[in-house]
């Protein structure tokens, strides 16, 4: 058993870190203040293949698999959660859904431009009445000749207002429920009838847009059914499963940044005639952060390896998201305590990290839902099936 990252991943991490330190870090505060990740940054990332890290090179991707993608998410999460979220929603759930369930034609038409970063993707699942209870969606798709007509509204859609391609889940047969009655579609946002409603004014990840996407008689060709007709719920769940691993990786980056910044501050800050790095109370907090982070790192990259080697990973991915977001929560909270009043100041990055972190316990399936997923899988070998 060798836990060393293969050399291509070591070099990739070094490249990504340089890119993020040079191109993203200087903008992190501006991104938060102006509520947008500059288009230019996304274009620069695309030029290096970063908008398609996990996908095969034959579809315009980088060929880095889930491990490569987790490295990108971790390095972005270490510096700017908004940018991590924009790229995360694009790769991890939008393009990923096409990668997992798309036909060859759909991959050529939609995955290639997404992986090359020439198009931006969004993932349309959540509705006003259907959050954790994703199967309760009301958006409908009705067959009309060679097309489907979509009607409804999706809310809290990351990248909704900047996306070119949006994956939409809609009810195609209300009598069949989640399994059989819901279908996934690939829609283009320049289609007549597609519009953006309100934009959320959020507490954190303010640089990533969160939009209401309205579908009013939006026509989608039947070729754009993603995956099996009626099996949209499975397509979405599969994409979300994989997205959860990389979300854990982004949390890992955020937690790591909190530790690094705490170590630096503890060395610099003097109280009672010595750096606070000499105080046991600080040692305890730093050590606990380290233990959390190392456990998360092992979990995240082992899960990425499970995904890349096509092994079952649903529970592990849910654990990445659950443990990752709570680790980030604990670490940033401790970092804020170590930084004292300066940590509370808007002039320093801890406060931004604290606001940015909180959403990771909520989006892409709340942590309560992750617990449900894990528990359901714990009982499954004993024949007890709990609907998730």
């Amino acid at each position: 058993m060798d836990f060393t990252f293969p050399k291509e991943y070591q070099l990739f991490r070094r490249m990504v870190r340089e890119f993020v330190e040079n191109e993203v870090r200087p903008l992190a505060k501006v991104i938060d203040r102006e509520h947008r990740v500059p288009h230019e940054t996304v274009k620069k990332a695309a030029k290096l293949g970063l908008m398609g890290v996990p996908f095969p090179q034959k579809y315009g991707g980088m060929g880095g698999g889930e491990i490569g993608y987790c490295i990108l998410a971790e390095e972005l999460g270490r510096v700017c959660s908004s940018t991590a979220t924009v790229i995360g929603a694009h790769i991890g759930i939008a393009a990923m859904a096409i990668h997992l369930d798309g036909t060859e034609e759909q991959k050529q038409k939609y995955l290639v431009p997404l992986a090359q970063g020439k198009a931006i993707g969004a993932f349309g699942l959540t509705e006003a009445q259907a959050g954790s209870d994703a199967a309760a969606i009301k958006t409908t798709a009705v067959r009309d000749g060679d097309q489907f007509v979509l009607n409804g509204a999706k809310v809290f859609i990351t990248n909704g207002d900047i996306a070119d391609t949006i994956i939409v889940m809609a009810v195609t047969d209300p009598t069949l429920g989640a399994y059989g009655g819901i279908t996934a579609f690939i829609a283009e946002t320049d289609s007549p009838g597609f519009s953006i409603g309100s934009l959320e004014n959020k507490m954190g990840i303010r640089g990533s847009s969160t939009a209401e996407c309205v579908f009013q008689d939006v026509r989608v060709p039947k070729e754009n059914v993603l995956g099996q007709f009626g099996a949209g719920f499975l397509t979405f769940m599969k994409s979300l499963d994989i997205g959860r691993a990389s979300l854990g990786a982004a949390c890992l980056g955020g937690a790591q940044a909190a530790l690094e910044s705490s170590i630096n501050w503890a060395r610099a800050r003097e109280q009672f005639g010595a750096p606070i790095a000499t105080k046991q109370s600080v040692h305890f907090m730093l050590s606990e952060m380290f233990v959390d982070i190392e456990a998360l790192r092992s979990l995240v990259y082992r899960t990425a390896w499970l995904i890349d080697t096509h092994q079952p990973h649903v529970m592990e991915a849910a654990a990445c998201k659950l443990f990752g977001s709570e680790t980030a929560h604990r670490c940033i909270n401790k970092a804020l305590q170590i930084h004292g009043a300066l940590g509370y100041s808007r002039d320093y990055s801890i406060e931004l990290g604290w606001r940015d972190q909180r959403i990771s316990e909520i989006y892409e399936g709340t942590n309560e839902i992750q617990r449900v997923v894990i528990a359901a899988n714990l009982f499954r070998p004993y024949g007890l099936r709990i609907p998730t």
């Binding site: 293969p6 050399k7 291509e8 070099l11 990739f12 490249m15 340089e18 890119f19 330190e21 040079n22 870090r25 200087p26 030029k47 290096l48 293949g49 970063l50 890290v53 090179q57 991707g61 980088m62 060929g63 880095g64 490569g68 630096n264 501050w265 610099a268 800050r269 003097e270 300066l342 320093y348």
Partner: protein, 259 residues
């Protein structure tokens, strides 16, 4: 047009602590990176390649087996081919021997139209590879170049001259050494990083492959120790401007210089 770039692998200075009081250098983390001068040379070579038709860029490195990583990074950044010159007989190589080995490899490759090297490396800063290679191969040389182009079979370069710059011309084949500040390196493309390790090869040429006589590889220089200039009292902040500024502000606050 064949452009050859000598590439040096160095210890990552971020993993080193210099203890003046103990007159020792401590290696905290032994990691190797591509020398920044070599990176600038690769950048200059790639820009030139993009400006002329039918050019190839070949990276060469004399070093231990781990220099393979530096050459794969060179491939990932955009070089077309890379060769590692490595042999136990090269272990003691000083600058004279290194140039001898590099020149032998360049001859084995059938010579070059242009050799692009860094003005100096980030570790020793000697700045000797370029000029010595030019002498060894009997090529023209232009050092400390800020801009370069090839037109009508001539090298055109801009280099500092007195308090200004001079535009100079030289016949090919030639050696240029480039200024780090003029050629900030590009990032490697992610897909090329994957291919550099999964799909591409870096051949290793040994002493025998290069037809070199081991007796001719005796170094002229011997290492006797490190000497340390007297310490400077002021506190230094290093890093990217944004975090340095933050550290300076924090330090000034701690000293109660500012509120």
């Amino acid at each position: 047009m064949k452009i050859i770039v000598p590439v040096k692998q160095i210890l990552d200075p971020k993993g080193i602590t210099v203890r003046r009081d103990k007159e020792r250098i401590f290696i905290n983390r032994e990691e190797y990176i591509v020398d920044l001068g070599s990176k600038a040379a690769i950048e200059a070579a790639l820009r030139l390649k993009e400006s002329v038709a039918d050019a190839e860029v070949i990276a060469l490195s004399m070093g231990k087996p781990q220099a393979d990583d530096a050459l794969r990074e060179a491939l990932a950044i955009g070089c077309d081919a890379a060769y590692l010159l490595s042999d136990k007989a090269f272990k003691e190589a000083d600058i004279t021997v290194t140039v001898h080995i590099l020149a032998a490899a360049i001859k084995k490759l059938g010579g070059a139209d242009l050799i692009v090297a860094g003005r100096e490396s980030s570790d020793t800063g000697a700045g000797q590879i370029g000029p010595r290679l030019a002498e060894a191969l009997d090529y023209a040389q232009v050092t400390d170049v800020y801009a370069l182009a090839v037109a009508d079979g001539m090298l055109q370069a801009t280099r500092p001259w007195a308090h200004s710059y001079a535009a100079v011309k030289a016949p090919l084949p030639a050696v240029v050494t480039v200024a780090l500040e003029a050629f900030p390196p590009r990032y490697a493309h992610g897909a090329r990083i994957m291919s550099a390790y999964r799909d591409w090869n870096v051949p290793v040429w040994t002493c025998a492959d290069l037809g070199l006589d081991e007796a001719a590889l005796a170094p002229l220089l011997s290492f006797r120790g490190e000497s340390f200039p007297p310490p400077i009292e002021a506190e230094k902040f290093r890093g990217d401007p944004a975090s340095v500024a933050q550290e300076v502000v924090m330090a000034l606050r701690l000293q109660k210089v500012i509120g």
